[in-house]
């Protein structure tokens, strides 16, 4: 086996590995390396976040605009506080926007649906980095629904 042939095969081997890496980056894990870009944070208080997790999606009309980056419990009010990290591309949500915790499909994972509010010309501003979204709807917890249903049945 002469030297040139060894070099050729090692070169092919490394090229194959790089090609595989590109497939993994582009096709398997989409927008992996580059595409995070600049983001800003909003906060929202819920009564109950159900099965929401860090890295769950934030969607506006089905389009993913960001991800949840932090979930903590407010020490005074004992309510969960969720940090929404949203891409800078979408930085003009009115202050009257509302968020609700939704489920994709019957058994799917939970995500946050952001419903942009109406913007009146002067009266309401735009959500800035660090703002709290006031209008929130909690997650539907299946056990609570069943409990309510049974309770109302037993009253009849």
């Amino acid at each position: 086996m002469n030297n040139r042939k060894v070099e050729l095969f090692v070169g092919l081997f490394v090229a194959l590995a790089i090609a595989s890496m590109l497939v993994l980056a582009m096709k398997v894990a989409d927008k992996g390396i580059a595409g995070n870009g600049e983001t800003y944070n909003l906060h929202a208080k819920f009564d109950n976040i159900g099965g929401l997790k860090v890295r769950s999606a934030i969607k506006v009309g089905g389009v993913t605009v960001g991800r949840i980056t932090n979930i903590t419990l407010d020490a005074d009010e004992f309510t969960p506080v969720v940090t929404l990290t949203i891409s800078k591309e979408y930085d003009s949500f009115p202050e009257t926007s509302s968020v609700s915790i939704l489920t994709s499909g019957l058994l799917g994972e939970q995500y946050i649906g952001l419903q942009p509010g109406f913007s009146f010309d002067d009266e309401s501003g735009i959500l800035q980095d660090g703002d709290f979204i006031e209008d929130t709807k909690s997650a539907l917890v299946l056990e609570d629904l069943i409990g309510q249903f049974l309770f109302s049945k037993s009253e009849d």
């Binding site: 092919l12 081997f13 096709k27 398997v28 997790k53």
Partner: protein
């Protein structure tokens, strides 16, 4: 009394072996770098260790991806969740099977060969001859093989995962009729580059380090008889497999344990 003595002796043996292994590693790694001389040697070893392992990696990656798609499909379809086939195949390959199976195959294919080669060099006193000629066998023989293993295995693991995902696509989409769009798009929505791909590569690097170290040490430390070499080769495969599986649990717990 006798049992205590043998326990003590075997413990001391093990500690001494660990010390010798570390001495070999430091001797091979921490030396004045001579890139002009050592680069062709490493290249030759990457050919032996990496390129010649390519076929077994390609074939097993393809078939593991295909089998996993087939098995997962039969379970998922009963919940109407066959669209989740893509993320299932991709995540298990990237996080676990890619690094682990590659490392196991590598230990069997390349690790045993390394041990046998170095052990035979020792038995035929080639290593002593090198020392006679004032060439450090740690740097001339051990170091290139070690680096070649550490470089090759992550590359092999990447290739393994990619081929497996393509094999899963072949079975899931082309044969079983999962929608091609949802196979890729749900996979893309689930797999995260830093979390899954990079952690898989880190795992594979750790395995590469451990497997190559064990293989090189067992060869260098072998009793220079035919029986000793056969024992060393067996030990390489057994010890590396155990180390891979044990370390895999630790690494998985550290990387993905909180999710």
């Amino acid at each position: 009394m006798k049992a205590l003595v043998s326990l003590g002796a075997s413990t001391l043996d093990r500690i001494a072996a660990l010390g010798r292994a570390t001495a070999i590693l430091t001797g091979a790694l921490f030396a004045k770098p001579t890139p002009m001389k050592s680069f062709p040697l490493v290249l030759k070893q990457i050919y032996v260790v990496g390129v010649q392992s390519l076929l077994i990696i390609l074939v097993s990656g393809l078939f593991i991806g295909m089998v996993m798609a087939l098995q997962a499909y039969t379970v998922l379809v009963s919940y109407g969740a066959e669209d989740s086939l893509g993320p299932m195949v991709a995540l298990s390959l990237l996080r676990e099977l890619g690094p682990v199976v590659t490392a196991l195959l590598f230990a069997g294919r390349a690790g045993s060969a390394l041990t046998a080669e170095i052990g035979l060099m020792k038995a035929t006193e080639q290593l002593s001859s090198l020392e006679m000629m004032a060439i450090d066998p740690l740097r001339r023989v051990i170091a290139p093989r070690f680096w070649a293993g550490v470089i090759s295995m992550p590359l092999l693991a990447i290739i393994f995962s990619t081929v497996g995902i393509l094999g899963g696509h072949a079975v899931g989409v082309d044969w079983l009729g999962v929608d091609s769009g949802s196979y890729w798009s749900i996979m893309q929505a689930t797999v995260e580059f830093n979390q899954d791909v990079v952690n898989g590569i880190i795992k594979s690097l750790v395995f590469a380090f451990v497997v190559t170290w064990i293989a090189v040490f067992k060869g260098y430390d072998a009793v220079p008889t035919s029986e000793g070499i056969s024992k060393a080769t067996t030990q390489t495969v057994v010890h590396s497999s155990l180390a891979i599986l044990g370390l895999d649990f630790v690494l998985t717990a550290l990387m993905f344990g909180t999710y």
